[in-house]
């Protein structure tokens, strides 16, 4: 259960960070970037804490880091694919 929570928090944190970036292509209008940035950081810290609670500090850190990496390249690609599908 705690793994699901950790995964959810980490993915949501990454989504907030992506939306806070000026190059994001998910939404035409986004909430204030600072708010998103703060929410993203908080969610990621909570996610990291949950991973550490589920595992141990080192393993928890590495799992969180790898999930973040996957999200941060999948999100721009998903946005680009959606944009491409709309154009066609």
């Amino acid at each position: 259960m705690i793994v699901v929570l950790a995964l959810t928090l980490t993915v949501l944190g990454c989504a907030c960070l992506y939306l806070a970036n000026p190059n994001q292509q998910w939404l035409s209008r986004v909430p204030p970037r600072r708010l998103l940035l703060a929410a993203g950081c908080l969610l990621l810290v909570a996610g990291l804490a949950a991973w550490i609670a589920a595992l141990r500090p080192l393993a928890g850190f590495f799992v969180a880091l790898h999930v973040v990496m996957v999200c941060l390249f999948i999100f721009p690609y998903s946005a680009a694919l959606r944009g491409f599908a709309r154009k066609n």
Binding site: V3, L7, Y18, N21, N23, Q24, Q25, L55, R56, L58, A59, G60, F62, V63, L65, H66, V67, M69, V70, L72, F73, I74, F75, P76, Y77, A79, A80, L81, G83, F84, K87, N88
Partner: protein, 563 residues
């Protein structure tokens, strides 16, 4: 602010290290991504046998006794008792014996499994297990080059990969913040490929740094060990090796008979003594002797490198814990550091989350190198264009063909060699050798095909080959389930169905890429190597709308095609 000439210098370094290592790294990353599912692939490829369930754990003591009596070499070397019931565990008990060889010479092993017949007597059979998953791992580690050259080659490639990473970061620094997460799909193909390359490279940078360091160390571990031996330890490293292997060494038999504790009871004893430890299987040595022991490899959740070499050793007579210094929570700092190092490379920790994360990061790494080559080709086209369409240089065409042939040949070769596990089982004498033949034939054939037909045409043809080969994985399982006369099998476990499901999704992706690339070669700029038109055929070509995945498409449809 970094000076422009420095950025230019590092760009050149990044380009050429990337181009020279890109092919090997594509293969290593694609095969490495699949290696994350080594066990499911091994289970998918293993034929049904008598299975672990055929002998209950309560009946295991009798089976172990019979095997130990009938096979003295197994009694001494170790008899493995399986606990999980996976498809790649042919029976409750398996063991290895030395193949016939000259004393002191390197030799192979033969594999046996054993079960109990209905009348309670022993049924033992020599049968080689599927080495398909190991072969894919071999492709991952050494891109198919025999040892020791494969390791040396990949060591050098890994070093250059590290150089490419550092130089790439330096090149990117001036625009890092401005272009972070930007992926602009549009008319400017060079921009698109650059963004596609940078998004993956920047987002997954820590993963790539870890891979560059660990793969260099793993590839050069043999030579480094030898240098240490002579330069630092002066020939005394064997003493350290001996100490290192001590936790795995079983106590010597004392020649007195002892009553073995049943495996189920041993597992209960283990649970009491190491509650967080998850046993995978048990290896019994010297059954029947008072000093008989059982080594239990397993995992301890929460540690990086939690399963690699970790385990405990119990007395098979009393259940007393004899050795547990290789268990993650008991390892000394040296061993813990090296296990963490290995675990970070292989993604051996946590479970499904990290397996899938490494799988996607591995595929993204393969895409990074494929995209890097496409970026180089597109840059050359832009540079050569100078206002009008031109024929592409020979080097550009050759790199395009090599990129298509090597990358797609690797993908198709791996898919078809997986399929061969079911189609060729029981029809050829040495299936494991056939896995190699199938892979290399498809790989080399694809490379030759790409050079013969050129990058544009062969890209479409080989993408369809990848699609068909990958789709053949779930179709083979479906055929096996529908037509038992084909003498194949369709396991029903989630892990093996997962292999079919992932292959099906992969085949759809290849089909989509093939369709997109077909549009690209027909409608894209004629001065590109990705076009089947000749440069100058169209007076004013429209720049294509880019498609990720190797293709792009124009919004207008040209009429005249030169084939």
């Amino acid at each position: 602010m970094i000076r422009a000439d420095i950025v230019k210098l590092y760009k050149t370094v990044h380009t050429w290290t990337g181009i020279t290592c890109g092919f090997a790294l594509f293969i290593a990353f694609y095969a490495g991504a699949l290696t994350m599912f080594k066990e499911p692939i091994s289970r998918w490829a293993s034929p049904p046998a008598v299975g672990v369930a055929a002998v209950s754990l309560d009946d295991a003591p009798r089976l172990l006794e019979l095997v130990a009596a009938a096979h003295p070499e197994a009694r001494e070397e170790g008899i493995k008792l399986h606990l999980r019931g996976n498809e790649n565990e042919p029976a409750r008990v398996t063991w290895e014996e030395d193949a016939p060889h000259q004393e002191g010479q390197a030799h192979e092993h033969v594999h046996w499994w054993a079960t109990l017949k209905p009348d309670g007597t022993l049924l033992a059979k020599q049968e080689e297990p599927s080495e398909l998953a190991d072969f894919i791992n071999h492709i991952h580690m050494r891109v198919g080059i025999p040892e020791p050259w494969g390791s040396y080659f990949m060591g050098v490639v890994s070093l250059l990969y590290g150089v490419a990473l550092i130089s790439g970061v330096i090149v990117l620094l001036p625009s890092l913040i401005k272009d972070l997460f930007a992926l602009r799909v549009g008319k400017n193909l060079k921009r698109m490929w650059l963004d596609a390359h940078n998004v993956v490279g920047v987002a997954a940078l820590p993963f790539h740094i870890a891979m560059a360091i660990t793969s260099t160390a793993l590839s050069f571990s043999g030579p480094l060990w030898s240098v240490q031996e002579s330069v630092i330890f002066g020939g005394k490293q064997e003493i350290l090796n001996d100490l290192d292997n001590e936790p795995f060494r079983a106590p010597k038999p004392i020649g007195e008979a002892g009553v073995m504790m049943p495996p189920a009871q041993l597992l209960q004893k283990l649970k009491v003594q190491a509650s967080d430890f998850e046993p995978r299987f048990m290896i019994f040595r010297n059954i029947g002797d008072k000093a008989a022991s059982v080594r239990v490899p397993g995992a301890e959740r929460g540690y990086v490198g939690d399963t690699h070499l970790g385990g405990v050793m119990l007395s098979a007579v009393t259940g007393e814990l004899l050795k547990d210094s290789t268990r993650p929570s008991r390892q000394d700092p040296d061993r813990r550091a090296s296990e963490t190092f290995y675990g970070l490379h292989a993604g051996q920790y946590e479970g499904a989350t990290i397996t899938w994360a490494y799988f996607f990061l591995g595929l993204s790494g393969a895409w990074l190198f494929y995209g890097g080559n496409l970026l180089w080709i597109e840059t050359r086209r832009k540079n050569a264009r100078k206002g009008g369409e031109v024929e592409q240089s020979r080097s550009t065409r050759l790199l395009g063909s090599a990129t298509v042939g090597v990358c797609l040949g690797c993908v198709a070769g791996i898919s078809l060699t997986i399929v061969a596990a079911k189609w060729l089982h029981g029809r050829v004498a040495d299936l494991n050798h056939w896995h190699e033949l199938v892979y290399y034939a498809v790989f080399l054939g694809s490379v030759a095909w790409a050079f013969a037909w050129g990058a544009a045409r062969s890209a479409v043809q080989l993408l369809w080959l990848c699609c068909a080969a990958t789709l053949a994985i779930p179709l083979t399982t479906l055929l096996a389930a529908l037509f038992p006369a084909l003498d194949m099998w369709a396991h029903g476990s989630a892990a093996t169905i997962g292999v079919d499901a992932v292959a099906f999704i992969g085949a759809l992706c290849f089909a989509w890429m093939a369709i997109a690339t077909t549009r690209r070669i027909r409608n894209g700029p004629a001065d590109s190597i990705w076009s089947i038109q000749k440069a100058g055929d169209r007076a004013a070509p429209r720049e294509p709308m880019a498609l990720p995945g190797g293709g792009s498409v124009t919004l207008t449809v040209p009429i005249r095609l030169n084939r």
